[in-house]
């Protein structure tokens, strides 16, 4: 904690960044924005930090204040790499204060982040419990699966907390906000809720780092990570996709290989 605070303070003191985005040392570990060196004493990090702070990097208010530094556990580091690969971060304008558990790993630029991830976190895997939940659901009949989601999606209020939480959701005009044509119903009713969550998950294919921020943010507790996990697993198994390691990566949806599977094609 001390090392993190010192590193953040140094960045601000040396004016290498105008803002350090971190977690605050209070209950719930909410986002905290240190703009002055003396603010850095309020920074903290531990496993209860659920927000993916990379989500702020897409906000115009934050982009207006670049360069910034972000306190970043591994999943957030990966998000930074994804955003770099998708040309969302101007080069050299975002630094990561890498943290993991209790340790502060240092200050890294985008290239350094990728290097750190490859060196130290190349084997990050989804939580086994999450995969078990997916597996459990897949073992049910299609009708049971439909009923499961019917019950879940009926709770959705369309507050879009999932979208706000996600660093991958940086579109200035979300597809659900496009009204000509309005593909996804904005009413918080069955089919619109279903299409919304399914498409939002699909739009993260090959980009989601399974940080869990969407599910954590959902006020209704929808099991959104099931959708992300099934896509993550499929993308890994079929295409070897591991989002968030290669800042030069081509988008998974938007590239192809002649060897891609099509055994399901008739």
């Amino acid at each position: 904690m001390k090392a993190l605070r010192e590193a953040a303070e140094k960045l601000l003191r040396e004016k290498r960044v105008s803002l350090v985005i971190g977690y605050e040392d209070r209950k719930g570990r909410p986002a905290f924005f240190a703009a002055k060196p003396e603010d850095c004493g309020r920074l903290a990090y531990d496993a209860s930090c659920r927000q993916n702070l990379a989500a702020y990097l897409g906000k115009p208010e934050i982009r207006a204040r670049l360069p910034v530094a972000v306190v970043a556990p591994p999943a957030v580091l990966r998000s930074i790499v994804v955003l770099t690969a998708e040309s969302q971060l101007p080069p050299g304008q975002v630094l990561a204060l890498a943290v993991d558990g209790d340790s502060f790993l240092g200050t890294f630029d985008a290239a350094g982040v990728a290097e750190l991830l490859r060196a130290k976190y190349s084997t990050l895997a989804p939580e086994p419990a999450l995969l078990e939940r997916v597996q459990g659901l897949l073992q049910k009949s299609p009708a049971e699966r439909a009923a499961f989601w019917e019950a879940e999606f009926s709770k959705c209020t369309r507050c879009y907390a999932c979208r706000a939480a996600c660093p991958g959701c940086y579109c200035s005009r979300c597809i659900v906000e496009k009204n000509a044509p309005q593909w996804i119903s904005t009413a918080a009713l069955g089919h619109g809720n279903y299409t919304w969550s399914v498409m939002r998950a699909f739009h993260q294919s090959g980009r989601c780092t399974l940080c869990g921020a969407c599910e954590a943010a959902c006020p209704q507790g929808l099991p959104l990570m099931l959708l992300n996990a099934v896509l993550d697993r499929e993308a890994l198994e079929e295409f070897g996709s591991r989002p968030g390691y290669d800042p030069e990566a081509k988008p998974l949806i938007g590239s192809w290989s002649a060897d891609d599977d099509h055994s399901y094609m008739r």
Binding site: E86, S87, Q88, Y170, C171, S172, R173, C174, I175, K178, A180, P181, W183, H203, K250, P251, I253, G254, S255
Partner: protein
């Protein structure tokens, strides 16, 4: 307000027999936006088209749906009719009631219901159609031909003869390509250089052709009609404007022992050289890697002896931009390196040579002045084994495909050898003899019957060199069903034909596809064998697949005809089905840029009045876009749309189902 006309065709009995056309037109007349619903025996007939034209004018129609045959059959017909009546042709759509309905269903109620649905979908779509205008692209009537072999020369000459300018780019110091290296050509045994060199000279002197030898394509921008190609003019160190080709320099050059590539390494050249005496242009270049002046700053002899002061050791690569409207790729081939075959000596046996080496041995202008001498000791070989399909038709070590020309040139080699060494033995190992060409089979028969070439059906399993210098060829005669061992003096391998190195990179520059072996992909294997997926880029010769000379020349002329066709009008007209980006909502994730098969989706900077970049977005180049719509479907915010198949149209179609 939408005023849609629906016209249902009976197609004689073809549709009417199964679909109740009157019921369909009556149902259509009640669909939202429809003001006219009619049916008629033959819509595509003159009276049928007249019905449509009349309704467009009288009813002030804003859209038309024709329920008839497949749009693949008559969409052009009906769109032309609509245009004649003053309606933008892209406001007409067809519902396929014949191929997709009446011909495949027999139950009248079901077929009629389906027909109504299909019409409803198209009515819903056409209400969202917008008038489109064919895209017009001005054409720069200059062609770029890449590759100065016979394919490139032929294409360039044909285009030039058609009155259009050509830039002919060749990476080597001279044009001529492989054909210049051949001794005689099958099946007529014409002297290759005798028939080629006049063309080379013509190409160099033609007022419409700009020759750029010792040059390569460095980068490509633009699209059909409007390419800007940057050519790297490699440093020659000899100013061609001053050089008279007198030869004093290369006669005096002290660096003498460089294997000459043109002679397949059998002859030698200097560090300053022309590759062969009939080279065009006949101006030397300095091989910087071997020149001691350029490497160590010592020597300078050529500069001293040059009477015109043409030698320039400071010369550097230059980049030159050319604007062209079309491109012919004619980069040719090379022979596969048989070093991969360890059992044939792995490339280490000097008397195991490839076909080009044999051509040079047989050539009157070659290193042996046309005498057959084996490389190791210069002796005349008395037994020569020719081995076909070396690396071809072998998907383990070599290539899966047949290289097509080897059967013929091997027959030619055997024949030439027998003409020159009357007491020599020519043994040919073959898998099959593929001699499907005019006079080809006869030619092979002649080699066997008149010239006594011994053809053995079978493979060679091993070639080893005995201490006495003989090559022991272990093979099998599969017809006789016995092993064969031959003590040979020379072995000639008919190596597989493969694309030139760097051809893949070149393909990427032009957006041309290539297959797993690196041969360029034609747009359609049957019907568009000269075009590529990149509009305005055509293929000629062996860069597309192994070919012999007549085939290569045919394709080159075909490519030239395509180019001249393209240049026949000052503007190109293209179907306006292209993608567009909504710059306000584009988040610049670059997925479309990655996905576009044509490189049409590109980065674009939005700038303010002072030129300051405000933000970057994606943009679509109208000239390059072919309208597949892949960009639109990878766009998460649906900021990319495809004219003709817009989100609005598809959404409306789905809502009508």
């Amino acid at each position: 307000m939408a005023r849609i006309g629906v016209f249902i065709c009976h197609c004689g009995e073809n549709i009417g027999r199964t679909v109740d056309c009157a019921a369909v037109s009556a149902a259509a007349a009640k669909m939202p936006g429809v003001v006219v619903g009619m049916d008629y025996k033959y819509m595509c007939s003159d009276p049928g088209q007249q019905m449509i034209r009349k309704a467009i004018i009288e009813q002030k129609l804003t859209g038309v749906v024709v329920g008839a045959c497949s749009p693949r059959m008559h969409e052009r017909t009906f769109r032309a009719a609509a245009a004649e009546a003053g309606l933008n042709p892209y406001l007409l759509e067809m519902a396929n009631l014949r191929e997709h309905c009446s011909w495949v269903h027999s139950n009248q109620a079901e077929a009629t219901q389906k027909a109504i649905d299909l019409v409803r979908v198209m009515v819903a779509k056409v209400r969202r159609n917008r008038p489109l205008r064919p895209i017009r692209v001005p054409v720069e009537p200059t062609a770029l031909v890449v590759g100065g072999g016979i394919a490139g020369i032929q294409a360039a000459l044909d285009i030039a003869a058609g009155g259009k300018k050509v830039v002919l780019v060749e990476s080597g110091p001279s044009i001529g390509g492989h054909m210049a290296r051949l001794s005689e050509t099958f099946p007529t045994l014409d002297c290759s250089q005798c028939i080629l060199t006049p063309r080379m000279v013509e190409a160099a002197s033609h007022p419409n052709i700009t020759l750029m030898t010792y040059s390569e394509v460095a980068s490509v921008e633009g699209f059909v009609g409007n390419f800007t190609v940057t050519i790297r003019r490699k440093a020659r160190y000899v100013d061609p404007a001053k050089c008279t080709g007198c030869g004093d320099c290369f006669n005096k050059c002290p660096i003498k022992k460089i294997p000459n590539e043109f002679d397949a390494g059998l002859g030698l050249r200097r560090a300053i050289y022309v590759p062969f005496p009939q080279a065009v242009p006949n101006k030397p270049v300095i091989d910087a890697a071997h020149c001691t002046m350029l490497q160590k700053g010592k020597c300078g002899l050529c500069a001293k002896v040059c009477p015109r002061g043409a030698i320039d050791y400071q010369d550097q690569d230059r980049l030159e931009k050319v604007k062209v409207g079309a491109v012919v790729l004619a980069t040719g081939f090379q022979l596969w390196d048989h070093a991969a075959y360890g059992e044939y000596g792995g490339g280490r046996l000097r008397d195991v040579i490839d076909g080009f080496a044999f051509e040079r041995l047989a050539s009157a202008s070659g290193p042996t002045a046309g005498l057959i001498k084996r490389p190791s000791d210069g002796k005349e070989p008395k037994t020569v084994v020719f081995l076909q399909c070396c690396g071809s038709r072998d998907d383990k070590v070599g290539k899966k495909y047949c290289s097509k020309i080897c059967c013929m040139y091997t027959a030619k080699h055997a024949m030439l050898y027998r003409h020159k060494v009357h007491d020599g033995r020519a043994v040919v190992f073959y898998m099959d003899v593929r001699a499907a060409g005019k006079g080809y089979e006869e030619f092979v028969r002649r080699a066997i019957e008149a010239d006594g070439a011994e053809y053995v059906r079978g493979r060679v399993s091993r070639i080893t060199r005995r201490r006495d210098g003989k090559l022991v060829v272990l093979g099998a005669d599969t017809l006789a069903g016995r092993p064969v061992t031959i003590d040979a003096d020379l072995v000639v391998l008919a190596d597989a034909v493969v694309p030139r190195p760097g051809s893949e990179k070149l393909a990427q520059l032009f957006g041309v596809g290539y297959d797993q072996d690196g041969f360029y992909s034609e747009a359609h294997p049957k019907l568009r064998p000269v075009e590529t997926a990149a509009a305005g880029v055509f293929l000629a010769g062996a860069c597309q697949a192994p070919k012999d000379i007549p085939e290569t020349v045919s394709q080159a002329s075909a490519a030239a005809a395509k180019v001249l066709g393209l240049f026949a009008k000052p503007e190109l007209e293209r179907e306006p089905v292209i993608a567009r980006v909504n710059r306000t909502t584009c988040a610049h994730c670059r997925a479309c840029i990655s996905a576009c098969p044509y490189g049409a989706a590109k980065d674009f900077d939005i700038v303010d009045r002072a030129g300051k970049v405000l933000r970057a977005v994606a943009d679509v180049n109208e000239g390059l876009c072919q309208g597949c719509g892949t960009c639109a479907s990878v766009c998460r915010s649906h900021s990319v749309d495809l004219d003709g198949f817009t989100d609005e149209q598809i959404h409306a179609e789905l809502n009508a189902l």
